[in-house]
Subunit: 334 residues, 2 copies
């Protein structure tokens, strides 16, 4: 029997995604199309596994382009592997769509594939279902036994670093808000500045190469997805330490510096989510060589504070004046 | 900094699920609580990976009990591993909820844990998000290199079998429908019959042990999730063969036989989804010993037809009269 009409939608969706994301890997013994994928983990490597969901209207604006969603869903998950120092290998995609929209699926698959190609990542499983737009991705990667970065190794005296720049994605989200008090001012800004921030929101770059550089050298690591203070707080809790950070040391992009004053920048940098930079700790003695290696990997890092005994994250400015913890930029179950 | 109030919901949910599903496995080097889990796949084994989504109102009635959902989300995914002949090991859960409902989460986790314990399966990753109720589970298991069952090995002349009984879940869904034309008749039926069918809908039993028995002996295998004719059709397509099945040979439970006439039974058995039995093919010579071993594993199987050259699934009755293919019981993107 040919599949019923009702089937065609689902199987076409999977086939379209497969066609646009096909990537041959010798370690994929069986990919999409059977009841499960069959995969070979290299000897001596541990499997690193993580899952993340993006819900329309909660994790991204409803009018986000499908290609950006495909990219971002993968980037957000690869960022978790990066924070472990793992090498990405495979992904399984669960895509829930209001209707079988071939154009949406094609664009989504193109965005996903553009990032997957950079990491030779193969899509090995999928499920498409009907319902409110929701994307859940599970990513699988490898890390040599004993080499993974975790949140739990920071010690008092370690320095705190962050890769790249902070606050751009939250500022980009603000730039998309036509109801914002300063919307007119932002729309009148020189060409390219708003766009640069919005691109950081829609097409984040997971710091996979930097995670590999940090293996065996950072004492603890986490990716900044919910906001610097919140995520560094998780790292501190897992390590049983506290942290002090200098808000004036936080790395900012030229676009952020140009478009926003110090107060707005601080809110975006301390509390804004969706940066997907790595926040890590390391002994001061290791810093010079480590920072050089990170810069050579394509994304440098900046020292933003230090680990102290105790608990919690305290923020101060360059003169040592305490700064109140920010409102979170991103809220689940608010 | 302690997590903001907005954080607490998410982290409490994960903790509650973890507390109720905690299971120590030596191959889990790092479980829930960091950016990714770290897992050890045994030497010589391939990783089997599958993902499936359940959307409220699409894959289950909106008033399904949370504990049943926890069980069913896992069962549906374990059924995919069973169809590959894989041994379940780990799962990652992405749970999207309209609000942080502690009672729902506790019941969901209890249902999930009840089935997870049977297979010593560990929950190693999770993401809880806010949005319309959607459950995506990714399951990971092992199968020795070269031993996996696939959909692709059926040959003309092989017999077609199915484990357990067919049609109960679709009949159970019908029994829950108070607007059905025969609702009064069904409600007046002897105690336990309706309940038995509804239990098959809400608490399906994945045929994991039977998948292990079939390894190296079945020529092809698939689980019956979308309906027998549709799923056997997928197996035939992957194998490049056709199938002929005898509708009067389809195994039926006592409850199904008691409550429904032949016409209704046929519709449930041929087109109804959610059975999660295994449909497999094997050479006739292997059947007697194989059927004995399956019965000893706790769930026997029944011969329902044979594989033929060509394509598609043809259905006939015991007298050889052709039966029209059924309407599918379950439709995505209808």
């Amino acid at each position: 029997m040919p599949p019923n009409a009702a089937d065609v939608g689902e199987f076409e969706l999977i086939d379209r995604i497969r066609a646009r994301t096909a990537l041959a890997r010798a370690d994929v013994h069986l990919g999409i199309g059977d009841d499960a994928a069959l995969l070979a983990v290299p000897p001596g490597e541990r499997l690193a596994a993580s899952t993340d969901t993006l819900v329309a209207g909660v994790h991204f604006p409803l009018d986000t382009a499908a290609a950006d969603l495909g990219w971002k869903a993968l980037a957000v998950n690869l960022s978790d592997l990066a924070a472990m120092g793992a090498t990405p290998a495979w992904a399984l995609l669960a895509l829930t769509l209001p209707q079988a929209d071939a154009r949406f699926v094609a664009a989504f698959a193109d965005g996903f594939a553009a990032l997957a190609r950079e990491y030779k990542l193969a899509l090995v499983g999928g499920d498409t279902t009907q319902g409110p737009l929701t994307i859940t991705l599970t990513v699988l990667g490898f890390v040599p036994d004993g080499a993974a970065l975790t949140r739990a190794g920071a010690r008092a005296g370690d320095l705190v670093f962050v890769t790249g720049t902070l606050g751009d994605a939250a500022a980009g989200l603000h730039c998309r808000d036509r109801a914002a008090a300063d919307a007119e001012r932002l729309l009148a800004a020189p060409t390219g500045l708003r766009e640069a921030l919005i691109a950081r929101l829609n097409r984040p770059l997971p710091r996979v190469a930097q995670g590999l550089v940090l293996r065996g050298r950072a004492s603890a690591c986490i990716d900044v997805s919910d906001g610097l203070v919140a995520d560094l707080g998780h790292l501190c809790e897992a390590s049983g330490v506290g942290a002090e950070i200098d808000v004036d040391a936080l790395p900012a992009s030229p676009a952020l510096l140009h478009l926003f004053d110090a107060e707005a920048r601080r809110a975006f940098q301390l509390g804004g989510g969706d940066d997907y930079e790595l926040c890590f700790t390391a002994p001061a003695a290791a810093a010079p060589v480590l920072l050089g290696d990170l810069a050579r990997s394509g994304c440098g890092a900046t020292c933003i504070g230090r680990i102290v005994a105790g608990s919690g994250v305290r923020v101060h400015d360059a003169r040592g004046v305490p700064i109140a913890p920010p409102r979170r930029g991103f809220e689940h179950f608010a």
